[in-house]
Symmetry: C3
Subunit: 418 residues, 3 copies
Amino acid sequence: MTEHSLKKQSKKVQPTSVNKKLLLSFLLIFIVAALVLVPSFNHNVASGISAINAESLTTPAATSQFSTIYDTLKYERSIHILAMLLVGFGFLMVFVRNHGYSSITATFLVVSIAIPMYMVIKSFGGEEFSMSTINIDTLLFAEFAAASLLIAIGAPLGRLKMDQYVAMGLLFVPAYIFNEWLILESGLFKGFLDTGGSIVIHAFGAYFGLGVIANTLSRFKNDPVCENTPSTNQFCLLGSMILWLFWPSFTSAIVAPDRVVLTAINTIFALCGATFATYVFSKIIRGKLEIEDIANAALAGGVAIGSTCDMTTPGYALLIGIAAGALSVIGYSIIAPKLEKLIKGTDTCGINNLHGMPGILGGIVAIFITGRPFVQLSGILVTVCVAFILGKVTGTVINLLGKKEIPYSDEDEFFLAE
Amino acid sequence: MTEHSLKKQSKKVQPTSVNKKLLLSFLLIFIVAALVLVPSFNHNVASGISAINAESLTTPAATSQFSTIYDTLKYERSIHILAMLLVGFGFLMVFVRNHGYSSITATFLVVSIAIPMYMVIKSFGGEEFSMSTINIDTLLFAEFAAASLLIAIGAPLGRLKMDQYVAMGLLFVPAYIFNEWLILESGLFKGFLDTGGSIVIHAFGAYFGLGVIANTLSRFKNDPVCENTPSTNQFCLLGSMILWLFWPSFTSAIVAPDRVVLTAINTIFALCGATFATYVFSKIIRGKLEIEDIANAALAGGVAIGSTCDMTTPGYALLIGIAAGALSVIGYSIIAPKLEKLIKGTDTCGINNLHGMPGILGGIVAIFITGRPFVQLSGILVTVCVAFILGKVTGTVINLLGKKEIPYSDEDEFFLAE
Amino acid sequence: MTEHSLKKQSKKVQPTSVNKKLLLSFLLIFIVAALVLVPSFNHNVASGISAINAESLTTPAATSQFSTIYDTLKYERSIHILAMLLVGFGFLMVFVRNHGYSSITATFLVVSIAIPMYMVIKSFGGEEFSMSTINIDTLLFAEFAAASLLIAIGAPLGRLKMDQYVAMGLLFVPAYIFNEWLILESGLFKGFLDTGGSIVIHAFGAYFGLGVIANTLSRFKNDPVCENTPSTNQFCLLGSMILWLFWPSFTSAIVAPDRVVLTAINTIFALCGATFATYVFSKIIRGKLEIEDIANAALAGGVAIGSTCDMTTPGYALLIGIAAGALSVIGYSIIAPKLEKLIKGTDTCGINNLHGMPGILGGIVAIFITGRPFVQLSGILVTVCVAFILGKVTGTVINLLGKKEIPYSDEDEFFLAE
């Protein structure tokens, strides 16, 4: 950046009201979170570190070697998931015209909030959280939480101030951890199958997001609407492709080592099925292709295969994918307008069509494998309700921080060239 | 997507003729393919699944652990190749102005066709295909088929209706499998060296594509021509970089585990040589740099190193790369216009320059390692002929589906904003 | 590329002076480099190859298997680093308007120079260089050199002819190897801690780049200035995200196998801290968000955690990241204009703010772990001085090749459409 351009920009600074107190209290939360993770304060961190040191000091035994190797293989998948979180979700949300900076900055911020905050909360004592925090599994679960949060912010996208994304992230993480504990760890839903998170990650994020936007339509009634352009949509398609191609690492992140390949093949087949079905149904329903369908509904196969990704076979996976792609296109083209009226809110990214309904489909399909319809259905229902209610509460809280000045625009938050 | 924008778009739907019957029969093919892969119908799928189950039930033995680990390491490379297929090839083809949606959708579709269809065909009984289908090697070979198909569609790019890409994909896969069998499995070309697919993947795809476009020039005589812009070219360079950087995982995908590093270093050296030679020769031949050369010819090193990638050393690899880069620039700047007259067709992406000639160069260089010029040369010749002839047949068939209304444009297939 | 467009372009060729002799001597350097790496000439290459062959011939012993696996795991990280080098650095530098082709081509070229040249020089005999060249560690160190070079070219970016980037690359590599040897291998700075290269990679590259531009301001006094647009900045943010997400593979590239996960978690926490601090301080200092801060300063956590990445814990990493992000924003907003006056040169990418100061911060923090302030501080000081002086010499040499005709523009080097 040259001196010249710096000068030019500084002229354009309008005296917008930067809420410094709020910003500094956000920063304080981060600093406290850091201190909580210092080993001498935190038993679970200390035991994680000492486990690493013990390993390296003592054994070159094969068992220890294998666990190091499997951890490093998981590490590779954790990086793939980071690619989905940042480039994938980030650019998928760039489709909103004149809102690219905000979409990407919000992505950066909520990932930077969700990952450390999840690990901080998990590092506290208590029966359920007794595992040591410094390991690859905690990181992967933290990334799942970040994914779910990124799904949730897709609903109000373009209508929140940057500070509100931050606040939403800070409120989301404990809500997510509560539901994760309730469904997977509390013992209330024993036998609930959701390996790749159709319900706990995708549906939770989607209905939390819908909760946030419920009844907010009136607040933005006469405001400019969301627009997109071929150039912004091309970035969006890049995000879509990044999500598609790294999806197998998302579903196989925590499966047993010898299930990784099967899980990956199932996931790829589900994505292929959804992509193809999206093409067929988008054209048949609408008469022409809608690029929004291609960018989004093609991913519905990944969402729906989540629950059963390591237990099914490629043939069934292809069928699940076809069904999910078709359902998602129907969602974008037919159901979305009706839902918006029902909840009186605008779902900018159509997360109900991509993550909500295909997630529930995935959770229901799992009944054929577990043979426990009651557990599976009640787990789904509880997740949807918990997500929607806590989302609605969160929406009420973040509304206290005010209203974005110019919806669907970078202008009120960023310096723009020219 | 807001309600408002949905309304706006629905006005723009022109009553184009959507061939619903064709679309539904495509869908039927997918559903049948899914059923073929159901374990109870298909011995090879069942044995693949049961092998996985057996492994996890019985042994924590080291040998089984090692095979799981090597499979997972291959899995990582399979994801890298997916990145090449979608983001790499997809965005490399975005350079055509006003055709970005079509290029990317076509990429999504042919990948979603090639991978499952390859695995379905390979899962049928018969001597040659007796291997179990559900394993990482089948997935990698399926991805190779998808790569070859993506090369092939580069030739007619911009002049096919979306349905024609689908039909081309469905016809390509069996043709590719036939040639793969003929050259590598039939025993007729024993000792043929082509580890990274200079011939079987790159040259096959290139000459299949040229076959498809041969004699089609007259069909598009007075139509608008292919254009590009700095913005579309920047996306194209992104695709190019993604191809470049993941190329080592393409060539080392199926080499012996202790050859992966050598193969990767050789591949990187070949790419470095080609990139540098592209710079030098583009400037010397043309007087100024042509961005198309940088985006494409820089990759020719990866194409040419394919045949010998695990058997040569970095010094030779650098030389092969330099030669391939030079050859590819000469192809784009000098040979391409002549070839277009010869085959009376337009090669939109210049696949002969990037995949055709450098592929053949790679196949010929392998003679220095195998010492079997006859086998190597006849394998090359047969591949080129089989590809061109089957491509020409495919071209004739897909021409039956009609002619794209507006060449090099998204307009006739997609809703466009504004 | 159609015949038509080829014709159109050939008209636009202006008789610019292509320095053919220079180009051919560059090519000659590449060819000589290739010959140097031919095994029969070069003991270190031959021993590397024969080690690979020996392994595969003899043992399926577990120890050999483990070393193959660990090498392949490192290989995966080497690909991640390639993604950072090409897409990451390449697109981060696309923010300059009308200069995208040059930024990306320069990236391609300097990567293609640095990697083989580093390995060629390292393959020469002599005590220090006796390790065999053909292994994954050499490749990783070569990639580090390429990263450092990419940092360096960020300073003069937009004001060098393409030939000058090439010359700068050829001069940089031996300078980098000299400093690497001096600090890490000569034994003069025993106990110097810099695992992830805060000093040896980031600070070296930054101060080398500042050396190159020192006192060049007058040469470009009345020239057009560097500009950016939302579209170019969006590509820049893509580069930023790619750097962010693959950073853990950069810092953990060469750590002990059982330290990879801890290193990765520390790195991610540092990046999260820096991203969040960037948001807070950019808004407080400037009154509004500056996208340049988000794209760059968010990465400062990765720079600063380098030195201590495998020895600290996540809590401290988060604090280091927060400090680095804050420092980097202060650099971009307050220090940069003053520094430009001091060295009388324009630092296009602000590398002092992203790699210089945060790198030094990282090196200083390591004192708390090593407890050797003298070694650590003198290593930092020597690196900064060596880098700046050799950078200044390099700047003087490449100035002999003339002056870019139109700064911050692709026009004088590339054919542009329309």
